[in-house]
């Protein structure tokens, strides 16, 4: 994992877990579950799946406690696992959708897969949901690696080095990924801010 870890309280907690202190893992869970679930939620755009994948992330971390060696920041390691799982899920989902599309072409008239938002009751709520849908679509249309880079950069405030380790690429590649991703997002979302201002 390359990067030299600075003082990281999560590493201390994980080392305690390695020594058999399960309560320390409860602390890690409480501290990071929201970040991991939210990251995965934005990656896979499905609440139930994101919680399921987050469970798997923490299970993997917990299962490797006996052999844990602090070679990188704990969060970098954790998000690397999360990203890996999200990529795999998206790959499987893509394959499934391709299969569904084939089935549709054979005359199956199923509606397109919808996100689990309920029908709004008032106009404001409708507008808000429409805006959110626009944002989700803009993120969802990004290639997976760009999407992961943006989510880590924007919502986790990770630096380029951390994102590079998580995505297993160079820092310059991360900068390039982010530049292209934001370029695409600016094209799709910049009008929203203008709409708010007017």
């Amino acid at each position: 994992m390359g990067a030299s870890p600075g003082p990281d309280p999560d590493i201390e907690l994980m080392l305690r877990v390695r020594d058999g202190d399960e309560r320390s893992f409860d602390v890690l869970l409480a501290k990071h579950r929201t970040a991991v679930v939210h990251f995965l939620r934005r990656m896979v755009q499905n609440q139930a799946v994101s919680e399921e994948l987050a469970q798997e992330v923490f299970l993997r971390v917990y299962r490797s406690r006996a052999s844990y060696e602090p070679t990188a920041r704990f969060t970098t390691w954790m998000f690397r696992i999360a990203t890996h799982l999200a990529f795999n899920w998206l790959r499987d989902e893509r394959n499934e959708r391709a299969q569904e599309r084939l089935d549709d072409e054979r005359g199956n008239d199923l509606p397109a897969r919808e996100l689990p938002d309920r029908a709004p009751s008032v106009e404001q709520r409708m507008l808000h949901h429409a805006r959110l849908q626009e944002i989700r679509d803009a993120i969802g249309l990004l290639p997976e690696k760009q999407r992961a880079a943006v989510l880590m950069h924007k919502y986790r405030e990770m630096d380029y080095a951390q994102i590079a380790i998580t995505l297993d690429c160079s820092e310059s590649a991360v900068k390039s990924l982010l530049f292209r991703a934001y370029e695409s997002l600016r094209g799709k979302l910049a009008h929203m801010a203008a709409r708010v201002r007017t």
Binding site: R33, V37, Q55, L59, L85, R131, R186, G187
Partner: protein, 183 residues
């Protein structure tokens, strides 16, 4: 907005405010950081001065800030309250599952990719071992086959010699017996 979309002869290039980051060879990550408010002192000041003169950079920063604030609107539902309880239940359950089922689970979650080079390496080693071993067996078999045939030839020759000797001996005995009868 691509780099080449910006005018190459932008006035900011010659304004003494530094080279335009959008026209540089490297990805202008500094502008992203600046728009996100994550750039520190001197660099931020330089970019602020530069973007005051450079229309392209000003547009970039405005667009980026707009996209950035739109992304801020995307809030996520809170994590379910049973998350920790479910985690510990699964962890306990996992401890009871045999290792081979856990391995299958790891494969299901995409852990099969590293297994491909490992499997390939095992196959190559096994093939190498078998080929090595087969050569050894072949050598032994060939060696044993030659030994048997040499022994057989020797035995046949020896037997033929013995038969000839016996015949000669038999002839001698018969001749002696005939001459003694005549006498």
């Amino acid at each position: 907005m691509k780099q080449q979309d910006f005018p190459r002869n932008n006035s900011a290039d010659n304004s003494g405010e530094g080279k335009c980051p959008l026209l540089s060879e490297e990805t202008p990550a500094a502008l992203l950081d600046f728009a996100a408010g994550r750039l520190d002192g001197i660099c931020a000041e330089q970019l602020a001065r530069h973007s005051a003169h450079c229309e392209a950079c000003a547009d970039f920063i405005a667009g980026q800030a707009a996209a950035w604030s739109a992304l801020d609107e995307w809030e996520i539902e809170p994590v379910s309250s049973a998350f920790n309880r479910r985690f510990w239940a699964r962890a306990a359950e996992l401890d009871r599952i045999p290792w081979y089922l856990r391995l299958a689970d790891a494969v299901r979650f995409g852990g099969w990719k590293p297994a491909i080079p490992v499997a390939a390496a095992v196959l190559v080693i096994a093939a190498g071992f078998l080929m090595d071993h087969r050569d050894a067996v072949r050598t032994t078999r060939t060696g044993a086959g030659n030994g048997v045939s040499v022994i057989e030839v020797d035995q046949v020759e020896r037997s033929l010699d013995d038969i000839q000797l016996l015949k000669q001996f038999d002839t001698t005995v018969t001749d002696a017996a005939t001459s003694s009868t005549r006498m």
